[in-house]
């Protein structure tokens, strides 16, 4: 049962902006074309060659008990600031949270048809990440492990990725104005490179987070659904959404009820992002910023690409 037939009900932000982009005229469109040309080859180089090595995490929300051990482990591993409320304080569930500069991942609580469902949120590590496609200077790349890697040394703070991401993941660290940086889950790239699983999936006590090869996880997910068809919705969220992602979900309740967008296409958002990008200047009337971006990107991107054969071999964060 796919839950994306209700498009008529709501026009997504992306579609709205896309149509704005089309209406916005050719000037804007040429900007978008310039920004997106040639980047796929770079950002996807390592990834495309080694698809069978791609890792993933299967999130089975029917198993999650909301203990937030995953959040705690992520915080500790990534040496993030101490949270305002402790990890065993259930009052954090009073309102839904988003990942932010202090937390790469959060667990939210949803009451759906009398069931209490907890869902962990983090970057999905899309196979065809819209954040990477939208980035004018290739601050993002895909590693062969499946990590959507963000390189803060390249980032110049335009924040296009924040608006392009279909899951609203990249957050912005406003506190360091001089060194702007985007904050998002790293997929524990530093651990993956050492052959370890992510800190969150290691900490999860219930098996709600299963780490493994993405292809294995799809099989496991399908088996669980087939074994208990009455319990699960017959859909693996993230298997195909916007081209598929490393993080995938299975659930007993409709995915849009637990905060996952229900109307995403199976195709990558790359083309749509182009339309979207071209709409940004019109919406925000930031023409100077766009032209600076084009100028900056065209001159510096190629230079960066040449200099940094592979930034992904550096650190994980």
């Amino acid at each position: 049962m796919k839950n994306k037939k209700n498009i008529d009900k709501k026009i997504s932000r992306r579609k709205f902006l896309k149509s704005m982009g089309v209406a916005g005229g050719t000037l804007a469109l040429s900007g978008g074309t310039l920004l997106t040309s040639n980047k796929k080859t770079y950002a996807y180089e390592n990834f495309a060659k080694n698809r069978s090595e791609v890792y993933g995490v299967l999130v089975d929300v029917t198993r999650c008990v909301g203990c937030r051990q995953c959040e705690k482990a992520c915080n500790e591993w990534n040496k993030l600031p101490k949270p305002d409320k402790s990890f065993d304080d259930p009052s954090v569930f009073d309102k839904n949270r988003r990942p932010n500069e202090k937390a790469y991942t959060v667990v939210n609580k949803y009451d759906v048809n009398g069931q209490t469902i907890y869902r962990k949120i983090q970057c999905m590590h899309c196979n065809e990440p819209a954040c990477a496609s939208s980035c004018p200077i290739h601050a993002y790349s895909k590693t062969k492990e499946g990590v959507t890697y963000y390189n803060e040394d390249r980032c110049f703070g335009c924040r296009y990725c924040m608006t392009a991401c279909p899951y609203y993941i990249p957050a912005y660290d406003y506190w360091s104005a001089l060194e702007p940086k985007i904050i998002k889950c790293t997929f524990c790239y530093d651990r993956l490179k050492e052959g370890k699983r992510t800190a969150c999936s290691e900490a999860c006590p219930t098996g709600a987070l299963t780490f493994g090869k993405r292809i294995d996880l799809i099989k496991i997910a399908r088996e669980r659904i087939n074994k208990e068809p009455g319990k699960y919705i017959d859909h693996i969220y993230g298997e195909n959404e916007v081209g598929g992602s490393s993080w995938m979900y299975i659930s007993s309740v409709p995915f849009e009820k637990i905060g996952l967008p229900g109307d995403l296409p199976d195709n990558p958002l790359i083309e749509e992002t182009m339309g979207f990008l071209s709409a940004v200047p019109i919406v925000l009337t930031v023409w100077p910023a766009l032209f600076t971006a084009i100028y900056y990107s065209n001159i510096h991107r190629d230079k960066l690409d040449k200099n940094n054969e592979d930034d992904t071999t550096k650190g994980g964060k």
């Binding site: 008990v65 259930p90 006590p205």
Partner: protein, 156 residues
Amino acid sequence: MKNLIKLFIVVFFILININIAESKTAPDKIILNSVEKDFPAVSFNHKNHEAMAGDCAVCHHMHPTNNELTKCHSCHNLSNTVFKESIVNTFLPCKSCHSTYNIGSPLIPDLKVAYHQKCFTCHKNMGNIGKDPKGCLEICHIPNKEKDEEVSKNEE
């Protein structure tokens, strides 16, 4: 040839069953302390749970009794030692296989996940577990609980 295999399997199962009968009796209480660093150890009353479950197979891997023959190696091929041990001893401590997580075998959960999956067969939505995370400390990981000195330290 097929009959020979069948005969072999029958003999094999008979031997296994003899083994069950001869195996040492189950412990009354077990201290489960593998996550003691973060959570108080659980004093697990094996005897009570045995009575409630009524069948060891509710928690333990056992040979199927419904004539459904699974391939031996689907469970016993973990390593030579484990194979040998699992033939000689009918019930192994969970941790002998569910110890370190192997990324290549995501179907075999680590120890804490193996335990919790079994516990949650019944304990989810019991007390506060799965509704409000407080339940973990109220029902099983009871803080500062006086540990019964008599109980067996063997984790089953």
